[in-house]
Subunit: 421 residues, 2 copies
């Protein structure tokens, strides 16, 4: 297709999504949940077709030289089909956020004023290789009463189409419009450009993927973007920390998984406790094969650490590498985090209540923690159910975003013929 | 200044605002409130200086041929000084939204997860002639723990500087940093261009002014914009309406004030009640001097109405003009509103509970009302205290925006050395 015909195609997609969003937005909870359960059943029934479609993608991926990590993300296995179906059932079991009215109060004028939670409208989701996102994202959008336009990676084309067939079965069985969830089937990259610019038909874009994708989408979008940038997360071990908690939290935050955004990348240690904390932590990290990079005071205790340079403080390694800095006190720790961090997730380990209170208030990150591993920053762990992503935006949704993050609040006013005086 | 030196100047402003925002964000409630009360006192003490400075602006405005409406907005009178001071005192008396923790719950893992309300950081406000916005906006930003960069109209230059002197007295007396509120004193329009692009230092832009300003800001901004576009508001008189309520609401919504965004611009009337409603309403509107433009069925009852054309349905008249359409039923009314409206404020008049429920849920506007005048869509009437504006955005803040709309929620996690398994 030419760029012009792609634009026309995408405008058609957008118009159909907008029309469908009106129907999904008013759909009753039991209808949406029935669709989700039917999708889950269809995924299990159609497992062989899914695996066959995925086999085509895997073969093409191997032929085009995708690396092992990408191929792993692309692969659909019977266990992954089961997990997708289970995910849909869990979303069906969650409470419906739509229509909830809060804070309905009488005002001096006699009117009642409250706020109703309502869908955003049409959500555009742009993602890369993992085909399970097709099912997850569709389900979260539907649950929250939104229409979805899904644009997966071209390497997962057949897999996404097969999953979409199951989604469509679910929508049809519940009497919901097919256009409530549209999977873009043109591999043309211009489709993304059109999607992120049609503010008339799309209310928000959620890009899920590498930094390149997210930066491109953020730069070019005319539609608001719920985006996830870096996760340069910190643990600060205060000099009033319980050392056993410090060891557990700092070890888990780094080594539980290396490639996740909520993994600690820089450890800050109060000078007064560095001599007690660093040698033991260094030993544990060495055993786990973590490369250490430290400031001068860190290297007094861990001489084997490489010298950390300025760049280390702002780097999201996503690897078994850890930067360590000894700081004077809580103030210096907070300054470091607010200066070098990415406002994602940061934790303090302390037994001191006043310092904990200050850290919670003054660290300007989407998740702030006391005596807990940064790895807890996750929609499931927070009780949001499935998550569409983690937002590093400040406006609207911040931190893990579940179904509620795909809704907004409008004011409702009830009167009895009231007029303004 | 050259554009380059303006950019440098604005970056300096942004850096100082960012640094100040850290201090204001953690300031205790009583300190912020003391500053607000001191500002109010300073405005009253310095009244003569304010009037003199404003006199300079008024004189220049008259000389440059500003029209009467603009001159009226620009003028500061003793009453308006009093109103500004009173506004600051009311904001001081409001509860502090910052730091409130909600929904703190234990999770199965043993951690507690909740959300804390925190300032956005740095708010840029761009406005036109009314100098009282300088005091209002500064106060709302300070109350919500944000630093503010205020860019008023060049026609109000001396007035804004005089008000800023009072603001600065208030900040200083409470020990808050002067940079917490910066009033841009270059008349150069390039300052606006720089302000709306420096996403590193500014977290959100609130443009207050005419449509031209808002569209320019929205188009060029790299910073999120809380914007207010059109107010094409509707009242729908259902055939199960109480006619007296219908007359009161429909008359008040149009005639209470013509130039406000929450004024009704289109009246929808169910066909079955048109014969009872329209002749009497037409009589009242004629008495008030409102020009009527109607569809064919409207003109059956109000033959003196001009023929409404397609363009009328989407027009925000801001004038004593009203478009009237007779619709078949609730469905057609909702379709009309969602198609032609601006998702601002829409009301139904009905005694039928099921129809009221449908209207509240299905009309996708920032305020939806039952048996109440659209004129109630206002921060003061809703109990938000002062408002920084009305948002027609869907994300983040929707409808009237008070201090709470200038905050966001972060997650707080409390543990006791908890790690992720």
């Amino acid at each position: 297709m030419t760029d012009k015909s792609i634009d026309d195609y995408m405008i058609g997609v957008g118009q159909r999504a907008r029309a469908a969003s009106r129907l999904v937005g008013r759909a009753e909870t039991r209808v949406k949940d029935a669709a989700l359960l039917a999708m889950a059943a269809a995924l299990e029934v159609e497992q062989e077709r899914l695996l066959a479609a995925n086999g085509q993608d895997m073969e093409a991926g191997r032929a085009s030289g995708l690396d092992a990590a990408l191929l792993d993300r692309l692969e659909i296995t019977p266990q992954r089909v089961k997990a997708m179906a289970q995910g849909l059932r869990e979303i069906a079991a969650q409470p419906d956020p739509v229509g909830e009215i809060s804070d309905l109060k009488y005002r001096p004028s006699g009117i009642q004023v409250g706020r109703m939670r309502v869908p955003l409208g049409v959500i555009g989701i742009i993602y890369e290789s993992r085909p399970n996102v097709t099912a997850d994202a569709a389900a979260l959008c539907l649950k929250s009463g939104n229409a979805a336009i899904l644009r997966g990676g071209s390497e997962a084309f057949h897999s996404n189409q097969a999953i979409n067939a199951c989604i469509q079965q679910g929508l049809a069985s519940a009497g919901l419009p097919a256009d409530a969830i549209q999977v873009i089937d043109t591999p043309d990259r211009a489709a993304v450009g059109a999607l992120i610019r049609m503010a008339e038909y799309v209310d928000v874009i959620v890009p899920r993927g590498g930094k390149g994708l997210i930066e491109r989408v953020s730069r070019e979008a005319r539609v608001p973007v719920i985006k996830h940038l870096d996760g340069v997360c910190h643990v600060y071990i205060d000099d009033r920390a319980d050392l056993n908690k410090a060891f557990a939290v700092a070890y888990n935050a780094k080594t539980h998984r290396y490639g996740t955004c909520n993994t600690m990348e820089t450890l800050l240690v109060a000078a007064d406790i560095a001599g007690q904390a660093l040698p033991e932590l260094g030993r544990r990290y060495r055993e786990a094969g973590v490369e250490l990079r430290g400031c001068a005071r860190t290297r007094d205790w861990l001489p084997e650490a490489r010298v950390a340079i300025e760049e280390d403080w702002g780097t999201e390694y996503l690897a078994p590498i850890l930067a360590i800095r000894v700081v004077d006190d809580l103030d210096q720790a907070i300054d470091h985090i607010n200066r070098y961090g990415s406002a994602h997730t940061d934790a303090i380990v302390t037994e001191d209540l006043s310092r904990a209170r200050r850290f919670l208030r003054e660290v300007d990150s989407s998740s702030v923690m006391v005596n807990a591993s940064t790895r807890f920053a996750d929609g499931g762990e927070y009780g949001l159910g499935a998550e569409i992503g983690i937002s590093t935006n400040k406006l609207h949704a911040r931190g893990p975003v579940g179904a509620e993050g795909l809704t907004t609040l409008k004011f409702v006013v009830l009167g009895d013929g009231h007029i303004r005086q």
